[in-house]
């Protein structure tokens, strides 16, 4: 294929060197080339948040970033943050509160919630709602998600 670029990136701690089609989105690369199917594709234009992953410590939409733009970057996905235990408290609270139904939005939601936990660990309920307002969930109506994040931030879980 033409328009491929030699790309080196670290995904969940493993450094990879691949020729990647310039047009391939990061989330497609993670899913199709690496089999990391925990990051989901919901809208492909940056609205729903299902593909949220972390690149060099910042959460990004995996459908708005090209894989080749991750050259030299640290990419972290739901699988990596689950194995490292970084999301354990949030996952436990989500489980106890049933802050997920179908689970399709959940990896992205957890990524966004973790981002808030790191940046603003004392966030109020309204701030939690605002921070998660870019992640679409059709099932829960959000309240259980807000409750779960509040439990973690305010030390109830």
């Amino acid at each position: 294929m033409e328009h491929e670029l030699e790309t080196t990136l670290t995904v969940n701690g493993t450094t990879l060197r691949r020729r990647i089609e310039a047009r391939q989105h990061l989330v497609d690369f993670l899913r199709e080339e690496l089999g990391l199917t925990g990051s989901h594709i919901g809208c492909e234009h940056g609205v729903c948040g299902a593909c949220t992953v972390r690149v060099d410590g910042e959460i990004v939409r995996g459908c708005l970033m090209l894989a080749v733009q991750a050259n030299g970057c640290q990419v972290e996905t739901i699988e990596g943050l689950s194995d490292s235990g970084e999301l354990a408290a949030l996952q436990k609270a989500f489980h106890e509160r049933n802050a997920l139904q179908c689970g399709f939005c959940t990896p992205g939601m957890l990524m966004a919630a973790r981002d808030l936990q790191v940046r603003n660990p004392k966030a109020s309920r309204d701030q939690i709602r605002a921070h998660l307002a870019g992640n679409y969930c059709r099932c829960t109506g959000y309240q259980a998600i807000i409750d779960a994040v509040e439990d973690v931030l305010h030390g109830k879980s």
Partner: protein, 797 residues
């Protein structure tokens, strides 16, 4: 003298009810929380090919010519096909049902032949080695179109100047009239008559996971395995079998994790049928996943209704009669196999549903248009019936200057009136309207909220309180589809198997899309058998392994599937105790099964761990009496039959603030009191209600599929089609009345649709309550800032 009758359970032991009524977290949520679920698009197969559809850019057009030459030369392309090629492998269907008298619809093909009838209808397909290659090749298909007049407006469709399917004679798919008689007399005698017309915007499900199917044909066996994001695997097994001409026994449908459904994934979609046909044609696995843009133009839409309703009432506030005229448009085809006549039918059945008036007349027309098809979406018809009923009830209350809570109290069917036949013909086993109303008003502190509202108006802050009482169809019997000739099971089955280790495996025909079906079946099975919940594994969504059944729709999973699990659990427990009695040489009646142990029923003394019983039954049956055969796998089925539907009831309230300068509505709080009978898992029930309420709020405030006059969908993407997000949603307070159905031993009714049924009406009434002092009123959903400002006379209509 025989032995004295022993009590069913030893004192102090928790048996049978056990986990029922407890908020047990869902075991199957763990994999989803780590991104380790397996949704259909996550599956990887050797030789997997990817289908991408070429869709009509016009609402109505003849396909004069399709040119595939360039597309066929594109890298990775395996084949490009039109409707005729696919029709060789997949027969068309006609979505009508015998009990919807007079319903008509033309045959629909997997890929349209010669003519496209809505923007987004597929007329060709590319199959390639990757999805991106297939998308590239679709862009190389050349098509020559002849545009035809598009019928977009409902009234024009009904008038029939242009008929979409000339062979059908007109654009009317289905009509129904219902009349108890005496309606005109009731209106003539009435002290007060109120009338209003309500408009309901067309909206859609927006499941976060797009529709997804992976069909894997095995030419050697002439067998088809379909991994399908579906709510109804057995229904789809039958349909794949009949339309692809493969024996049903050779078709297996597997629903892995499904990313939301809400009714969207219970229908037959042409592109999905084409995908299955392509797998047969190409003798290899083929996958299709709808992306977001094609979801908007091909997932079913719902709820495009215009309804005129009149209510007759006495001066004392007694409702005498309802008179209804509903017009709804469904796109160019009735959707297979459930038909698109059901939503309108439900509006006729349910309008006025909570109230005790005796006179009712309804007229309803379902018309074809050149827009995407509509069909059953969460709460089918209920949001419309509830909103127009509750809207006109509030009008009557306002006319009589009676408080809306008090007006409802005077008219709700009394709690001791059951069984009760409603004037539309539907029958209620037992409802609790007055209990739910009392509980709601108490829960929300209605009186103080009213005085708060009055105080704030003085400060120029416009708040409103809206109530919406409701009834909901749950646990449908064969009266819903089976009697009309649809091969859709109203029955479900559960198989329970005790494993040698003392684990219990549950296989059930009801499916899981996140509601918590698997979790509640685990709770019921553990309770019925007498094991701890960690000993239960639940498998659903595979026609190859579960009993035959209907799947998940119409709020039927808990009430029907749950009852099958309960019956099977009790039977398994009895079989286990037969073995225990044989091993221990005791009378079965002296034994019980509690917490994974066989115990003495009276003393609760442990007699044998279940794992030991399993070991003996499976590996040392030689030690059991010669005339004894253990049976550690049992299957039971359940179908509700005494009533057509097991109706539930509830009431919601919404508290909003309307900004008269911007037209924005701020949702302050929402309440729901629901009676779904036995509550199996309170946390999951409340989450069903909350999620449903928010979907209903979406309908009330944000969501509408907007079409231009040429039939083009104008906002078919997630940036332009607004859905509820976390920032705007209120906290939702839930409470329950429990009136178990007497038809089953479990007593559970459905709850999945209640929130969506009532929320739009409650929000509408709250907005209008807030607008009342300003002399404005809105009746067209969604209530966008623009529509509210127009009602206030601040912008042009």
């Amino acid at each position: 003298m025989g032995k004295a009758e022993l009590p069913l359970h030893a004192p102090g032991t928790q048996v049978d009810r056990g986990y029922i009524g407890q908020s047990v977290p869902r075991a199957n949520a763990q994999r989803l929380l780590q991104g380790r679920g397996s949704f259909t698009d996550d599956l990887r197969f050797p030789r997997l090919a990817h289908a991408v559809f070429f869709r009509s850019p016009y609402a109505h057009a003849n396909v004069k010519r399709l040119e595939f030459k360039q597309a066929l030369r594109a890298p990775g392309v395996i084949g490009v096909f039109d409707g005729r090629a696919v029709a060789e492998y997949c027969t068309p269907w006609v979505a009508v049902l015998a009990h919807l008298k007079g319903i008509k619809s033309p045959p629909q093909h997997a890929i349209a032949i010669e003519r496209a009838c809505w923007q987004g209808e597929a007329v060709a397909v590319v199959v390639a080695e990757t999805r991106s290659q297939a998308e590239d090749a679709v862009a190389l298909i050349e098509a020559e179109w002849e545009e035809l007049p598009a019928v977009v407006d409902m009234d024009e469709a009904l008038a029939g100047k242009t008929v979409i399917h000339p062979e059908l004679g007109d654009n009317v798919c289905f009509k129904r009239e219902h009349d108890t008689g005496g309606v005109d007399e009731a209106f003539a005698q009435a002290d007060v008559v109120v009338e209003e017309t309500y408009h309901f915007g067309r909206h859609t499900g927006v499941c976060l996971e797009g529709r997804a199917i992976l069909a894997d044909y095995n030419a050697a066996e002439h067998s088809l395995t379909v991994y399908h994001a579906t709510q109804a695997p057995h229904m789809m097994q039958d349909i794949f079998s009949r339309h692809l001409n493969i024996p049903e026994g050779n078709v297996r449908v597997i629903a892995k994790d499904v990313g939301g459904s809400f009714g969207i994934k219970v229908h037959v979609y042409a592109d999905e049928m084409a995908t299955a046909a392509l797998s047969v044609m190409l003798r290899r696995p083929v996958k299709f996943v709808a992306d977001r843009l094609e979801s908007f133009v091909s997932d079913i839409h719902a709820r495009e209704h215009k309804v005129k309703v009149r209510l007759a009432c006495t001066r004392a506030g007694e409702i005498l009669a309802f008179d209804l005229d509903d017009l709804t448009a469904i796109g160019p085809y009735s959707v297979y196999p459930r038909t698109s006549g059901i939503e309108g039918n439900q509006v006729v059945n349910l309008t006025g549903g909570p109230y005790k008036h005796q006179k009712y007349r309804a007229r309803m027309n379902v018309v074809f248009t050149n827009k995407n098809v509509t069909c059953q979406y969460r709460a089918v018809g209920h949001p419309i019936a509830v909103a127009l009923t509750e809207g006109i009830v509030d009008r009557a209350a306002a006319e009589l200057k009676i408080d809306p809570g008090e007006f409802r109290r005077r008219n709700l069917i009394p709690d001791d009136a059951y069984p009760y036949t409603f004037p539309s013909g539907i029958k209620f086993e037992k409802l609790s309207h007055h209990q739910t109303l009392d509980k709601l008003l108490d829960l929300m502190d209605y009186k103080s909220l009213r005085s708060q509202q009055a105080d704030l108006i003085k400060k120029g802050s416009y708040r409103g309180i809206g109530l919406a009482a409701m009834i909901e169809v749950t646990n449908p019997s064969p009266a819903f589809y089976g009697v009309g000739g649809a091969r859709i099971s109203a029955q479900d089955g559960a198989t329970l198997r005790l494993e040698p280790t003392g684990m219990v495996t549950v296989l059930c025909s009801v499916t899981e899309q996140g509601q918590g079906t698997d979790a509640i079946f685990g709770q019921i099975a553990a309770s019925a058998v007498g094991v701890t919940i960690d000993k239960v594994r639940v498998i659903t969504g595979d026609t190859g392994v579960t009993p035959y059944g209907g799947g998940t729709w119409a709020s039927r999973g808990a009430g029907i599937g749950g009852e099958a699990v309960l019956l099977a659990g009790r039977a398994l427990r009895s079989n286990i105790l037969d073995i225990a009695a044989a091993v221990l040489k005791m009378d079965k009646a002296e034994l019980d099964l509690v917490g994974n142990e066989v115990v003495n029923r009276l003393t609760a003394e442990p007699k044998m761990p279940l794992a030991e019983l399993g070991r003996i039954a499976y590996f040392r049956p030689d030690t059991l009496p010669l005339d004894f055969q253990s049976e550690l796998t049992v299957t039971r089925h359940y179908t509700p039959r005494q009533y057509g539907f097991t109706f539930t009831n509830g009431i919601q309230a919404s508290y909003v603030e309307v900004d008269p300068d911007t037209g924005f509505v701020k949702l302050l709080k929402h309440w729901c009191v629901e009676d779904c009978g036995t509550v199996i898992n309170p946390m999951l029930v409340d989450e069903q209600i909350r999620g449903g309420v928010v979907q209903g709020i979406g309908a009330a405030l944000y969501e509408e599929c907007l079409y231009g006059p040429d039939g083009q969908l104008l906002n078919g993407n997630m940036a332009d089609y607004l859905v509820p997000m976390a920032g705007e949603m209120p906290d939702i307070v839930c409470a329950h009345i429990e009136t178990p159905t007497q038809q089953s031993q479990l007593g559970a009714k459905g709850v999945g649709e209640a929130g969506t049924a009532g929320a739009p009406g409650a929000v509408m009434n709250a907005i209008n309550d807030a607008l009342a002092p300003l002399g404005a009123r809105v009746t067209q959903m969604p209530f966008t800032p623009e529509r509210i400002l127009a009602a206030l006379g601040k912008v042009a209509r």
